[in-house]
Symmetry: C2
Subunit: 333 residues, 2 copies
């Protein structure tokens, strides 16, 4: 399987500093925890020198294999602000691996467990000939998968960094996601799948951010337009919804959202050294829950709690504390 969007870049896309990269597609069979064996395609990116220590990088359910701009695809990646020269995740010093989540293509319409994602990553490592990862860095859903990977494949990873994730979903966050999925279903009833999906994504955006950020960005008073009341954040949220529905399907949204809620890992089984980061005001992975996880891990390397107006999305925005945590985890001295 070749990846159409890993085309040879034009000269313009190729600043000299961009790291060498490899884009890989592969087909494999995987035994799903809740749905038996299935054939799946994996789409992988590998950025950095082939001899460098390998680090798996995973983000939220709407992240993907393109973590950072590289020599074969100079478009900005989803973690462009955190990965780069001189930083903890430096593609000149590490070999960064990532893939598209199982379910991201919208073709896998079954319950998907974080354990399935972890096993798919183990398959990908087999195909790449990588016996053992130096580290696994996961944020949000990716943090849940990092914990599962460490629990299920402890011999294949040296240490993990888990950002804004815990051993299980929080019951309030699960309730909120369940309503998002029901809104997608409402849109699918007749003729408005895109609208339902957009509204579900807009709700999800609220859970990724905080009242503090909205108070700072959208301070204007709501006003009446066409007989209806519109509030200041609506255009922003609509743009978020539009961008999402242009790239994702309802099935992908629902199955990956469900996957967060299916996540469950016994902290006692995570025997790999684990660094944790939590954010005050993030109610998807509340600091209390992350700290409780840290207390039950066999090999904790610390649990940092930071303040951020970006809440759950802090891992995308708070470059310095994230870099510090990753440096301590991946380059301990």
């Amino acid at each position: 399987m070749s990846l159409a969007d890993c085309l040879p870049p034009t000269d313009q896309d190729l600043p000299a500093a961009l790291a060498p990269a490899e884009c890989r597609g592969m087909a494999t069979r995987l035994r799903f925890r809740h749905a038996g064996e299935r054939k799946v395609g994996l789409r992988i990116e590998v950025v950095g020198p082939s001899k460098a220590p390998a680090v798996w990088v995973a983000g939220g359910i709407s992240a993907h294999r393109h973590v950072v701009a590289h020599a074969r695809n100079a478009a900005a990646g989803w973690w462009q602000d955190v990965v780069g020269p001189g930083r903890a995740l430096d593609p000149a010093r590490l070999r960064l691996l990532s893939f598209d989540w199982l379910g991201a293509d919208g073709e896998l319409d079954i319950p998907i467990d974080t354990a399935d994602q972890a096993d798919a990553i183990a398959c990908a490592l087999d195909a790449l000939g990588i016996e053992r990862l130096h580290g696994f860095v996961g944020a949000s859903y990716g943090g849940m998968v990092a914990l599962q990977f460490a629990a299920r494949h402890p011999q294949r990873v040296g240490r993990i960094a888990v950002l804004s994730a815990a051993d299980r979903p929080h019951p309030y966050a699960s309730a909120f996601r369940s309503l998002q999925r029901q809104i997608v279903a409402l849109g699918q009833l007749q003729c408005a799948e895109t609208l339902g999906l957009s509204l579900a994504r807009q709700l999800a955006m609220l859970s990724y951010r905080t009242p503090r950020e909205f108070a700072a960005r959208f301070d204007a008073a709501p006003r009446i337009e066409g007989g209806r009341v519109r509030c200041a954040a609506e255009s922003y949220l609509e743009a978020c919804g539009d961008r999402y529905v242009a790239r994702w399907t309802a099935t992908a949204f629902v199955r990956l959202s469900e996957s967060i809620d299916l996540h469950a890992v016994d902290p006692a089984t995570v025997r790999v050294p684990t660094a944790l980061l939590a954010v005050r005001g993030d109610w998807l992975a509340p600091p209390e829950q992350v700290e409780a996880l840290a207390a039950r891990l066999p090999a904790p390397v610390g649990c940092q709690v930071i303040d951020s107006m970006f809440g759950h999305d802090a891992f995308l925005k708070e470059r310095e504390p994230v870099d510090r945590l990753l440096r301590q985890t991946l380059h301990p001295l």
Copy 2:
């Protein structure tokens, strides 16, 4: 206009302790801030001795005129836990007045301002022959209306108590309500108005409560049912949605939700002594916003911030701190 549900109670409904009450309906014309003059019906309940000091009582957008059980309707009211013998809101010592919000009957399909509600209350007082209220107690939307009433009709009220409300909506809360209204519209588009309204109400419920409460009540892991993931809080939320759609219409929900977002009062114009209560963890009326309001009021009587796992709904649940605040406000010594 008579009220069908103010029927003479049966003996069984009539414990001797229930306070005397009067149910009043009236028609009037009102000049709406955003929609010109309209004819409206007001449905009012008055509980307590006719000579006692009059106190207006107002709750959230889904509250109504029936605040407490009384001699003509022994069904529990929406503030049954707070109002009663020996408490600050004692119908033996005070004459408690309340009404159904403009828009609650679903027939008024126009933007409704909190200023309109305040003016409707002034009309109701005229009809009842009450020149001046001893006090006005408002929680949530009712607190917004209390502020408007004090700003627009300062000669008609001695003091106000504002619980979990501020001088304007919070931008994050406005965004969340806007999405709820768009879900109602999606339901209407899909020929599924009841389902859309139920989902919107279920989302609203999440904003009224807290992660802490959900963690305590709905701790069971999500599970797969019929190929879909269901979480522990879903049955509870569905029951909330069902109860809501049995009593309310989409128009009432949308117009009263909008009314919260249209609310704006200049604190400098609230010259009546004002006591405030806010709840840590309530992101609909965050303590910072309520404290900022207190700092700008000409006649503050204090701002109490309490802890409650019930968040925005604390005024319905935290009987003791609410009673203390109301006692200090209504019966100062």
